[in-house]
Every structure is written in structure tokens, then in C-alpha cells.
């Protein structure tokens, strides 16, 4: 097939950028920034080209490399891959700009940006993986590449967070490895096939159930599914751009994306339902949604509150994938993107607050809206989106998820979503209330030193993502919106879009 080399090129861009940045001397700021931005822009351009080709020419690209054990290394571009790929490519550019500003004059920047690129390369590999084997390879690479970012500050707390992170993720990776090996020897194929790999039909149900449990346990660690979510709040010691990346694009999304791949394209949702595994998974996701929200309520530290909110929000994706309805799947796929946009905005804003006024606790944020009006505007948009206020991004995905629940005769899903939205409001609205309607304290009353409230590199990225949060909700039906792309994928996986409710 022509263009079979394209997937490897997309992967190589960030993979080659990483050693280049490592090799850059610490003080060569301009050179490093150039390499960083060139790579990010180049990649975004290539992803846009691929999206165009896949959407209009119906093109599919696949690149294979034989390996000695397991299966081939396969990188392929399909609509589902592109959904995740474009999210990571786009947010990589924004986070890089943000990180350049955030880490100005900080030590070890070459190391930081090198691992940052490596982390994005791993995410790209996860998106492009054409079988579970390839997925596993990049999933482990992601673990290794993020560890140095988590411990970047090199404080004892950072090291402790890193240790917990590694303990969770390496154990998860091990379970995933066993599940994958087992699946490979039982079914003889690890390929991702639309609507499920037919090779699994010949395997006995008990083996399949055990494999499913292993795979989900392995993926659930990164997706922060209860009870494997413990590492996420600990990893909050990382610098703000890392938290943004971890929560929006890289780690938790890799887990959620993996769950979608396994449920939809390895087992197939039909087989998952037949094995009786879909409902327990949906139940676990629902529990995590509520549990994460309740925990978020109790946190006074802003980043920890947002972290628990991620625990809850990522499970929306899992919940949607576990329901046997194209609508729910559309909701899940969309939320993969929407949650990324909203959460990255929130984390970048939290980073701005920490950077500008050195405040970390929610209870200290009285009147911060006057000191950082643009930052808090972006924060407000993203927070309202999280709660699900129409017409913002979160509303659209929640709507589809709820419709999917009804479509699958699981109306309790609607209750879960309502309860969760209520809890979201309970832990996010007080922040907005404090920021905008309370009198400034001594800490928040100061004036900005420059013309802008904070450096433009720190301000522009959250404003762009906040605009996107509005855009993807308002223009949800436009071509190339997450909704239309998710619809394209979901109708492939579950080819029966119900009439009525939503067209």
C-alpha cells in the first residue's frame, strides 16, 4: 500500500526529537525551543494530512515489522487511531508552549523536554498500535518516559510520588503482559479488528473471562479505575505541564483508550456482553465516577481536587465503552477528546495560579478572578463544561452517554450521570464562587507586573483550549468535530444507530 511509511514517520517525529533535545546543552534555550516547536508543528501538520486522507479518500495506512515473539509490530492509521492521535498532537503543541513558559530558568530543562517528547512518542505509538502487542510495547514505554517527569522536581515528595507511580504502573504493565501473552497463545491473534477479533470465538469462555480481567486490571491502573487509582493524586507533585499532559493526553487516556480498543476491537462489545463482562465493567466505572467525585469534594488542594475529578471523568469513557450501544460509544469516544480539552485547561489554569500568586489551596482563592481574569475565565469555561452545562463540550458527551444508557436498557446510567454532574457542580462551583464573588485577600489582591496578567506563553494555551471547549460543544455537528468523528468510528464498531432520540 502506498504511504505505508507514514505511520512510522508520525511516530518518529517525536521519537527523534527526544534524543536531539537530550543532546541540547542546558543553556541553548532558543535551539531547544526551535526543535520542540518544529517537531510539534510538523507532527500536527502530518496528522491533519492523514485525517484528510482517511476522511475523504478512505485511506488506511499500515506499517509492519516482524518480531521474534508474539506478533508483528504494526502501526496503522484508522479513524480510532486518528481520534487519539490528533488529540495528542494538538495538545502536545499547546502543552509544549505552556511548558516553555512555565519552566523558564528552571534546571534540567533538556531532560524535561526530552522525556516530554518521548512521552508523546509513546502516546503516538499507543494511538497507532494495530495490535495488542504493539500497544503493550508503547504502553510500557509510556510508563518509563513519564517517571522522570513525575519526579522532575527531585524533592523527597516527588520521589515518593514517583515510587508509588512506578509501583502501580509496572504492576499493571505486568498484568497486561500476562493477559496479552495468554490471549496470543489462546486465540492465535492479537490484532485489533473492527467490532471484535473473530479469532476469539474459538476460545472457551472461562479463559476469555480470565484474560479480560487481566487486561482490564492492567489497563485500569493507568485509567485510574477504582481501586487502582491511588497513584494519580500522588503524581500531583509533578510540575503543572506534566499534570496537564498526564491527565489530559498521556497516561490516563492511554489506559482509557486501551480499554476501548480491548472492549471494542479485541473482544468486541457483543462478545463482552455475551460473556457477562460488560455489566460488571460498567458498574465499576459507575462506582469510580461517584467515588472520584466524592473524594474530590473533600480535597482542599486545588490540584488534588482536579486529580480526583480526573478519576471520575475518565471513567465516563470506560462506562460508555462498556454499554452495548453506539450512542454510548460515541459519548465515550467524544469524552476522550472533550475531557482532555477541559482537564488540560483546568490544570494549566491551576498552574497559572500557582505561578502568579503561589496559591495551591481552594480556600485561598478568594477574589482571584480580579488578579487573573483571563485565566479564571478559561477555568470557568472548562469547569462549567465539566459539570455539563449546555452547550459546552461536557454536555454533549454526557448527553450521548445518557442516551446510550437508555438505548442499552440501563437507565440507571442516567441517574449516575445526574448524580455525578451534581457532585461536579458541588466541587467546582465553589471555586468559581470564591474566584469571582468573594473579596480579594492580601494574597490575591496584588496587581500584575506586566501588561498581561501573566506571560503569554502561560495564558494563550489555556485560552485556546477553553475556546475549543466552547467550539466542540457549539459546533458539535460540524465535519471533523469530535462528535462526527466519533460517530464515524462508532457506527463501524456497532452498526445499528437507533432512530429517534438522537440523529
Amino acid at each position: 500500500m502506498s504511504g505505508a511509511w507514514l505511520p512510522i514517520v508520525v511516530l518518529s517525529i517525536s521519537l527523534i526529537a527526544a534524543p536531539l533535545i537530550f543532546a541540547t546543552a542546558e543553556r541553548r534555550v532558543a535551539l531547544r525551543t526551535t526543535i520542540n516547536l518544529c517537531a510539534a508543528v510538523l507532527k500536527l501538520g502530518l496528522v491533519a494530512y492523514l485525517t484528510w486522507q482517511v476522511a475523504f479518500e478512505g485511506a488506511r495506512y499500515a506499517w509492519r515489522w516482524p518480531m521474534a515473539a508474539g506478533s508483528d509490530l504494526v502501526l496503522q492509521v484508522d479513524p480510532l487511531a486518528l481520534l487519539f492521535l490528533s488529540l495528542s498532537a494538538g495538545l502536545w503543541l499547546l502543552t509544549t508552549i505552556y511548558a516553555i513558559g512555565y519552566l523558564e530558568d528552571a534546571p534540567h530543562r533538556s531532560r524535561f523536554f526530552g522525556f516530554f517528547s518521548l512521552c508523546v512518542a509513546a502516546t503516538t505509538g499507543i494511538a497507532l498500535a494495530g495490535n495488542l502487542y504493539t500497544f503493550l510495547i508503547f504502553y510500557e514505554l509510556l510508563t518509563l518516559a513519564t517517571y522522570p517527569l513525575v519526579v522532575h522536581r527531585q524533592t523527597p515528595e516527588a520521589l515518593r510520588g514517583g515510587r508509588i507511580y512506578l509501583a502501580y504502573t509496572l504492576t499493571g504493565g505486568m498484568l497486561l503482559l500476562v493477559g496479552t501473552v495468554w490471549l496470543g497463545s489462546a486465540a492465535g491473534s492479537l490484532d485489533f479488528v473492527t467490532a471484535g477479533n473473530p479469532a476469539l470465538a474459538s476460545v472457551d469462555p472461562i479463559t476469555l473471562t480470565a484474560i479480560f480481567a487481566l487486561l482490564l486490571a492492567g489497563l485500569g491502573v493507568k485509567a485510574a479505575l477504582f481501586p487502582a487509582h491511588g497513584w494519580l493524586p500522588q503524581a500531583m507533585v509533578a510540575p503543572a505541564p506534566v499534570s496537564a499532559l498526564l491527565h489530559a493526553v498521556a497516561v490516563v487516556k492511554a489506559g482509557a483508550f486501551g480499554i476501548i480498543r480491548v472492549v471494542e476491537e479485541v473482544f468486541g462489545i457483543a462478545l463482552t456482553v455475551k460473556l457477562g463482562l460488560a455489566l460488571p465493567l460498567a458498574g465499576l466505572a459507575a462506582f469510580t465516577i461517584i467515588y472520584g467525585s466524592l473524594q474530590a469534594l473533600r480535597q482542599d488542594d486545588l490540584k488534588r481536587r482536579l486529580a480526583y475529578s480526573t478519576v471520575s471523568q475518565v471513567s465516563y469513557i470506560v462506562l460508555g465503552a462498556a454499554l452495548f450501544s453506539p450512542l454510548a460509544l460515541i459519548g465515550a469516544l467524544m469524552h476522550l477528546v472533550h475531557q482532555g480539552l477541559m482537564k488540560i485547561t483546568l490544570f494549566m489554569c491551576a498552574g497559572n495560579i500557582a505561578e502568579a500568586v503561589h496559591l495551591y489551596k481552594v480556600s485561598d482563592l478568594d477574589g482571584i478572578g480580579r488578579r487573573l481574569p483571563w485565566t479564571m475565565t478559561a477555568f470557568t469555561v472548562a469547569a462549567l463544561g465539566m459539570i455539563g452545562v449546555p452547550p459546552l463540550a461536557g454536555f454533549v458527551s454526557k448527553w450521548y452517554l445518557a442516551a446510550g444508557g437508555i438505548d442499552d436498557q440501563n437507565a440507571w446510567v442516567v441517574l449516575v450521570l445526574l448524580a455525578s454532574s451534581g457532585l461536579n457542580a458541588l466541587y467546582l462551583l465553589p471555586i468559581l464562587h470564591r474566584a469571582w464573588f468573594k473579596a480579594p485577600t492580601a494574597a490575591t489582591a496584588g496587581a500584575a507586573s506586566g501588561r498581561l496578567e501573566i506571560k503569554w506563553t502561560l495564558l494563550a494555551p489555556p485560552l485556546v483550549t477553553a475556546a475549543l471547549v466552547i467550539g466542540v460543544g457549539l459546533f458539535a455537528n460540524a465535519p471533523f468535530s469530535p462528535l462526527s468523528w466519533a460517530r464515524l468510528i462508532a457506527t463501524g464498531e456497532i452498526p445499528r444507530l437507533p432512530e429517534g432520540l438522537i440523529r
Binding site: 515489522w65 516482524p66 518480531m67 521474534a68 515473539a69 508474539g70 509490530l73 503493550l136 510495547i137 510500557e140 514505554l141 518509563l144 522522570p148 519526579v151 522532575h152 527531585q154 524533592t155 523527597p156 516527588a158 520521589l159 514517583g162 515510587r163 512506578l166 509501583a167 509496572l170 504492576t171 504493565g173 505486568m174 503482559l177 500476562v178 501473552v181 495468554w182 496470543g184 497463545s185
Partner: protein, 506 residues
């Protein structure tokens, strides 16, 4: 067996390659080189590097011929067995031969590179007069061992390897090293004698030493079984299988770095290879070796994985962490024994684990040398000091990836195949042991790597040879070896096919 797919060359080049007996070259070159290096100590370094390089080239040619043309078999001097000596190599020997020569030549180059850098420092480095002759003798022994096809030749070459290894271990001149080398010598001699006892028992019963001939006449008589137990026990001792591993950490931990690299990466594999060769060619097909024997070896292997992993996790010195990790890795290799009945997969796993370990472990030991020189000691607690060169950290990270078995390294391929085998043919507890071992080694390696990110202390105010220790001469070879350990996993499917060339087990 069909030769390996995908490897091709022009007929002319093939004929040229086939015209020379590369096996003889691979054995004789280091022997002659070793003698020359002993006679001309002033030229020892040049002779040593040239001989190691030439031997490696010959070995690569031989591996190539085996991969493309099938197993190698030569009756030396035209005398065939049982009268003459037979040299033979199949895919398994070829893979280990290639590993030995590539790693060996890299270590030799490293010694030459760093030897020049430390000329003015008599304490540092290895004693050139002793290293080169001993190393070349060791190399000749290893190559001959992988090419031997009878149980007595295997004994002779094993002795060659063992004695030169002891000499190398004692070279650093420290009292600790000397003591460890003495213990190593003692263990080696006892093991050799026990092995020889097995050989004698077999010879007394059957009157032949050639593997292929023995295989045809051997029957599961009690004396044969006794011979088998003696031989396997001796080889397990030489390979430091738990609980006979006590000699290894001090011997490997106190020798100079290049020697530790050679001992850990190559010497341990030689005795393991003999155990595998005897098991696959003799004991299993003739029914002498019951499944229970293999199971015992496997259980001891599993214990080694756990014990070695645990010791590596709590060791206080970096070199001991690395040495105990060898104990654990040897355990994985022995865990393959009970799985061979299930098919060739476990053998491929064995080769991948062995080869990846050789590259990664030699990289780690060589990197230890640089740590020692940059920091003055190799205590774990010193590792967070800022004097440590970046190349060392990268080397450690890459080697750790392969040792733990994370993708896409050679160690990962080995672990994948091993897990696959355990899932198909072993009890569940086998899988669990592999996983626990992996987690332990991950923890041990993470403990080392996390030090690189530890809160930075103030640089200790003492004059260290930083400029010297940060030199590329110290970091180049370990870095390349570690990268190779990871790269082996990406080589594609041909190494696995190579292992299956000349398959003798049904």
C-alpha cells in the same frame, strides 16, 4: 531444517566464506594471540584487540554460514567419531558463539580504550600483562566449548574456561578479590571433578564420548542416571544455580569491571550451555532424564529468581546489585528446563534471555567502572551525586529495560516466550514466579535509577578525576552494549529461526 529465511548473499561471497574453516580460525586465533600476548607483554594490548576482533569476525562468518547453510560438522583431521574428535555447531551453539564473540570483542575494545586513558594511573584498570593472555585463553576455551561435540572435550574446554576465569578474577590484586578468586577456584575444581566423574561413568558403560553416538546407545540404567545427576549438579554449581550461588557475588563483585563483565556475561553461560546441550541431546531423548529432574532444576531456578531479585533489591553496593541480578537471571534460564518438553519455544526463550543478559550485564559492569572512577566508590547512596556522567545513567536505564524484560528489548522477547511457555506447558505457579521475579528485578533496577533523580547533594569538596572519568572512552562501549541489549528485540524473527537450525529434539 530449512536455513534462516531472509538472510541472503551473493553466491561468490558465499563461496568465499565457505572456503575457510571458520571454526578452526575461531579457536586457533585466540590461542595463538594469547601466546603472543604472553611473550610480548609490551605489545599485549595491540595483539589482544587484534586477536579478539579477528576471532569475532571468524565467529560471525561461522554463524552466518550456519544460518544460511545449516549445521556445521567437522571431523578434525579426517578422523570421524568414535576415533577422532568431532567439531559441531547447530543453531543453539551458533547463537551463543555469536554472543560470546561480540560481547567479548566489545569488552576487549573497552579495556584497550580505557587502558590508554589510565596509563599514568597504575592502580586503575586491569593489569595488561595478565589480562590479555588470560582473556584470549578464555575466549579460545569458550569458542571450543560451543563447538565441541563430545562430553570429554566439553570437560577440557570447561576447565580451560574455568581456570582462565579464576586467573582473571584474581587480577585486580585486592585482598577481597584474591579471597573470592580462591573460593571461585575451589568451587570450579570441585565442580569439574564431579563433572569428570559423570564423564567417566558414561565412558565406562558405553565406551564412547561422542554425543551423537552416545545418544544412540544410552539407556536409562542406574549408573547412567547417576552420571547425569553428577554432571548436572556440577554444571549447576558452575552456573551459580541457587543454592550453589554463594561464590558468585563476591567473585563478580570484587573483580575489576571488565573481568566482572566477562565472567557474568559469558562464563556463566558456558556451563549453562553444556547443561542444556546434554539435556537436549542426551538425557531427554534417551529417557535417562525424567521430568522430575527437569522440574527440580526449574524449581531451583524459580528460587534463584526470587532470592537473587531480593538480594539485588537490598544490596548496598552497586556492583553487588548487578551481581545478584545475575543470580536471578541464571534462575530464569534454569526455569526453561521443565518447559522444553513442550516445544522449541522455551529454547528460543533461553537463547534470548541469555544473549540479552550478556549484553545488558556486560554494559552494567563496565558502567560500574565509570561510576567507581567518577564517585570514588560504588555505594548505592553515592549514586545521587552530581559528578555522575549522563552517559552512565543512559547506559543503566537501557540495560535495566532489558534485564527487567520491558519492551522492546531482547529481554522482553525472552520473557514473552518464557511466559508463553509457562502458560501453555507449566503450572500457574510458574507464571507467578516469573512475574514476581520480574517485579523484584524492576524494583531493584528502579532503586538504582531513582537515585539519579534524588535530591542533589552539594558536590563533595574533594578532587575527583572527573575529567578523566567523564571521558567518552569509558562510556562508549557500555552505551553501545546496552543499546544492543535493547536492539536485539527489534531484530525481527531471524534470531529465533537461527536457534532452530539443526534442531535435534523432536
Amino acid at each position: 531444517m530449512p536455513p534462516v529465511q531472509g538472510l541472503r548473499m551473493s553466491d561468490a561471497a558465499g563461496a568465499l566464506l565457505a572456503g575457510v574453516d571458520w571454526a578452526a580460525v575461531a579457536i586457533l586465533t585466540p590461542l595463538v594471540g594469547g601466546a603472543a600476548a604472553f611473550v610480548l607483554p609490551n605489545r599485549a594490548r595491540a595483539i589482544g584487540v587484534a586477536a579478539s576482533g579477528a576471532t569475532a569476525a571468524a565467529a560471525v562468518a561461522l554463524v552466518w554460514l550456519i544460518a544460511t547453510g545449516g549445521p556445521y560438522d567437522l571431523a578434525v583431521g579426517g578422523w570421524s567419531a568414535p576415533l577422532g574428535i568431532r567439531l559441531a555447531a547447530d543453531g543453539l551453539s551458533a547463537a551463543l558463539l555469536g554472543m560470546t564473540n561480540l560481547v567479548g570483542a566489545s569488552v576487549a575494545v573497552h579495556v584497550a580504550l580505557t587502558g590508554r586513558a589510565t596509563k599514568n594511573d597504575p592502580e586503575a584498570g586491569v593489569a595488561a600483562w595478565g589480562f590479555w593472555p588470560l582473556w584470549l585463553l578464555l575466549l579460545a576455551g569458550l569458542n571450543a566449548l560451543y563447538l565441541s561435540a563430545d562430553i570429554f572435550n566439553l570437560y577440557v574446554t570447561l576447565e580451560m574456561v574455568g581456570l582462565s576465569a579464576v586467573g582473571l578474577a584474581a587480577l585486580s590484586g585486592k585482598a577481597d578479590a584474591f579471597k573470592a578468586a580462591m573460593r571461585y577456584l575451589l568451587v570450579g575444581i570441585i565442580a569439574s571433578l564431579v563433572y569428570l566423574l559423570g564423564v567417566t561413568l558414561l565412558y565406562a558403560q558405553y565406551g564412547v564420548l561422542d554425543l551423537a553416538t552416545l545418544r544412540q546407545v544410552m539407556i536409562p540404567a542406574p549408573a547412567t542416571q547417576l552420571a547425569m545427576v553428577a554432571m548436572l549438579a556440577a554444571l549447576a554449581m558452575k552456573s551459580a544455580l541457587f543454592p550453589l550461588h554463594g561464590w558468585l557475588p563476591p567473585a563478580h563483585g570484587n573483580a575489576t569491571a571488565p573481568v566482572s563483565a566477562l565472567l557474568s556475561a559469558l562464563v556463566v553461560k558456558a556451563s549453562l550451555y553444556i547443561a542444556v546441550r546434554l539435556w537436549l541431546d542426551l538425557f531427554e531423548p534417551t529417557g535417562v532424564g525424567a521430568g522430575a529432574v527437569a522440574t527440580v532444576l526449574g524449581i531451583l531456578g524459580a528460587c534463584a529468581v526470587l532470592w537473587g531479585g531480593l538480594q539485588a533489591l537490598i544490596a548496598k553496593r552497586l556492583k553487588l546489585v548487578v551481581a545478584y541480578s545475575t543470580v536471578a537471571q541464571v534462575g530464569y534460564l534454569f526455569m526453561c528446563f521443565p518447559l522444553w518438553a513442550g516445544g522449541r519455544e522455551a529454547l528460543t526463550a533461553f537463547v534470548y534471555l541469555a544473549v540479552a543478559h550478556a549484553f545488558a550485564k556486560s554494559a552494567l559492569f563496565l558502567a560500574c567502572e565509570q561510576v567507581q572512577r567518577a564517585l570514588g566508590d560504588d555505594q548505592m547512596s553515592s549514586l545521587s551525586r552530581p559528578e555522575l556522567p549522563g552517559a552512565v545513567k543512559i547506559t543503566f536505564a537501557l540495560a535495566a529495560v532489558s534485564l527487567v524484560g520491558l519492551p522492546p528489548s531482547g529481554g522482553f522477547i525472552g520473557k514473552w516466550l518464557l511466559l508463553d511457555s509457562t502458560l501453555l506447558h507449566g503450572p500457574t505457579v510458574w507464571t507467578v514466579a516469573v512475574l514476581c521475579g520480574t517485579l523484584l528485578s524492576a524494583a531493584a533496577m528502579a532503586r538504582v535509577l531513582a537515585r539519579f533523580f534524588a535530591p542533589e547533594e552539594q558536590a563533595v569538596a574533594q578532587d575527583l578525576v572527573v575529567g578523566d572519568a567523564a571521558s567518552w572512552r569509558f562510556s562508549l562501549t557500555p552505551l553501545l552494549l546496552a543499546a544492543a541489549a535493547v536492539g536485539i528485540g527489534l531484530l525481527g524473527a531471524w534470531p529465533a529461526e537461527l536457534v532452530n537450525v539443526g534442531e535435534t529434539v523432536q
